[in-house]
Symmetry: C2
Subunit: 388 residues, 2 copies
């Protein structure tokens, strides 16, 4: 068992988990072929990465789909190599765990337009992919992708694996939105939905997503998305500013309290306008590290996919009325992305739509990220939900 004591960074909190098992998973590639988007465009040679654990039964109805968060990928459980870091939800997925891979066949896939383009363990199709018609990266000529398109590519993957029914679709944040979109799109295929730290994307959330992405467009290196290739610099500063907003909004005051009244060595912001406080330096460093491992155009497309949540429906209420029946909704009360008023309203909407709804909570200093790193305390609730 690997432990990583003493590293109180969000990266470590994301990477570490109190896993007892050392399940190794294999990253695979699904060739989805030609894909027609909800917006009416065609994408040839569509491919996404995925991983599985457990065995599909003969009826094909013991499958679970896990959908990832905005900056995540399919690595929700297990380890990609022995001794490597565990997946982000490894605390609740594995042999004998809440989502028990001795009973369920668990699948998790990379989304289209995944931001982790430079990562060898992420396989996606998006603006950084080669457009076979031109032999060059798509850039901003890549078609708009909606949240529903994420679902449709995953559906093809599940069909190819022989899955006939999902006992559960679940995920945190953007993964929670995908779960809701799945439950609305395929009410009979989806037996249970468990959106974690997610709710409706209303205009206020669409505005925040715009705030997240705007620094990318301001960076002169962005060049309308045409920054790929030799001799060109990617818009790292703009992308880092974008990650800065996400990083800060995804944690809560209790977590950043460690930086209260602290100054980095040699910095004197009370006397020099260019000097920084400790929280600013932490955000700068963390955001630049994330910028170096992600792609700016993909960030813009991922934002748009989120803004197009449930875009096939006149509204969230209409979408939920026709959706799958059984829900376990898990917000974080100190979530600063999906604020508690919004998650409460979402649960009410589900009840008004006549669904069977349970609610739990994830708590802790991490705010929104409690739904990624703090799932162990709700493991029994998830186990019970699956047993019903």
């Amino acid at each position: 068992m690997t432990t990583r004591r003493g590293l109180l960074t969000a990266a470590a909190l994301l990477a570490a988990s109190p896993a007892m098992a050392q399940e190794v998973v294999e990253k695979k590639v699904f060739e989805a072929g030609d894909f027609r988007t909800r917006g009416g465009a065609s994408i040839p040679n569509t491919r996404i990465g995925y991983q599985t654990m457990g065995t599909l039964n003969a009826a094909g109805d013991n499958a679970v789909l896990i959908c990832h968060f905005f900056s995540g990928n399919s690595h929700a459980f297990g380890r990609l190599q022995p001794g490597g870091p565990a997946g982000y939800w490894d605390a609740i997925i594995g042999p004998g765990k809440a989502i028990d891979t001795e009973r369920y066949f668990v699948v998790s896939a990379d989304t289209l337009v995944n931001v982790n383009v430079p990562d060898a363990n992420t396989v996606t199709t998006g603006p950084a992919s080669i457009n076979p018609d031109t032999g060059r990266p798509w850039g901003m000529s890549f078609p708009v992708i909606a949240m529903r398109d994420f679902v449709e590519v995953q559906k093809r993957l599940l069909d190819s694996l022989g899955v006939k029914r999902l006992a559960l679709v679940a995920g945190p944040s953007n993964g929670g939105l995908q779960s809701i979109e799945w439950a609305a799109a395929y009410p009979d295929f989806v037996q249970r939905a468990m959106p974690v730290i997610a709710a409706d994307i209303d205009a206020w959330m669409q505005g925040w997503l715009d705030v997240w992405e705007s620094p990318i467009r301001l960076d002169p290196n962005w060049r309308e998305g045409d920054y790929y290739g030799q001799g060109r610099e990617p818009p790292l500063r703009g992308l880092a500013e974008a990650w800065k907003v996400v990083t800060l909004q995804a944690v809560d005051r209790a977590f950043t309290g460690q930086f209260d009244r602290k100054l980095p060595e040699g910095q004197d912001p009370a006397r020099r306008i260019g000097d920084r406080f400790a929280i600013e330096k932490w955000l700068d460093d963390r955001a630049m590290a994330r910028a170096k491992t992600t792609d700016a155009n993909s960030f813009l497309y991922m934002v748009r996919a989120n803004q197009l949540f449930l875009n096939d429906y006149p509204g969230v209420q209409a979408a939920l009325e026709g959706a799958a029946r059984r829900w376990l909704v898990i917000p974080a009360p100190n979530d600063r992305v999906f604020v508690s008023d919004g998650t409460k309203q979402f649960i009410e909407l589900l009840r008004k739509a006549g669904k069977q709804v349970e609610a739990a909570e994830v708590t802790g200093p991490m705010g929104h990220l409690n739904g990624v790193v703090g799932m162990a305390p709700v493991a029994d609730r998830i186990r019970a939900f699956l047993a019903e």
Copy 2:
């Protein structure tokens, strides 16, 4: 009486007020002379604008000081010309109102480094002012200003007016922070403090202030602050992005609900990646309008002043222990800038410090801005607090 029906914009909500009076106030200039900052720098020819209503009594102890919000100025009450717009807190300040100018001498001043540089009714000293040593604008060579410096210049103004004691110091947001800083700096001079939509500036808030300002530094027109003068373009795009964050965070989901699922004419964001949703267009337009009437460098200095809240003290608890005794604290429960956990903690800290603390609330769809545009419902609480 002027009414402005049908304009549901934040600007109109800020400008309009259900004022019954047509009190005209005169904008005056206070020459503060040479000013030494908390950071140890000297500023010659320091000047700020101010306005007053009511009459100071012989003892000089019936004065009230109103401090303005981040993007505001001294225009808290009355009208600068007959028929002109009323000040932002006109609903609670004036003859016979909660803060009764028939009993109190009410003063409100522009801060140092005020952002409204192009506005003829704002008088401030900051990075856009001329440095008399060079004959050119200070730019980023202007000394760092702390929240306490705002207080010290205002103290000189009050001394010059013959004020011996403040019956009340109050203000919303940044004005609430100034009120707290005043109560800590001059506990005997300040009889009562009323911070509205304000609490401590912890690391999380320092981080948000950094998020607000970062787009300015990304704009190539910013040029390290050297954008003044003929033939140079100010960093309008970066400044607009900065105001976009402020604008969105200062309202709540109920207000932006009017934009849910709406698209501007001719826009199709589900098919074109460059197209916009209605909320984005509203934010773009509103933010650019604010950018055109404000100064980018002053925004950076205003951010720093906020980050340096209570910077003379080892912490907020220490500052409050020595502070003035009587408090009325008025948060907004759906405030997304000063979140409710933080305002509750602040009230607890005041109580732990042995202060006499009352609390009220401002509610409504505007979130944080309820403390600017929604003060009428707490008028009686304020009147009673002043009568105690």
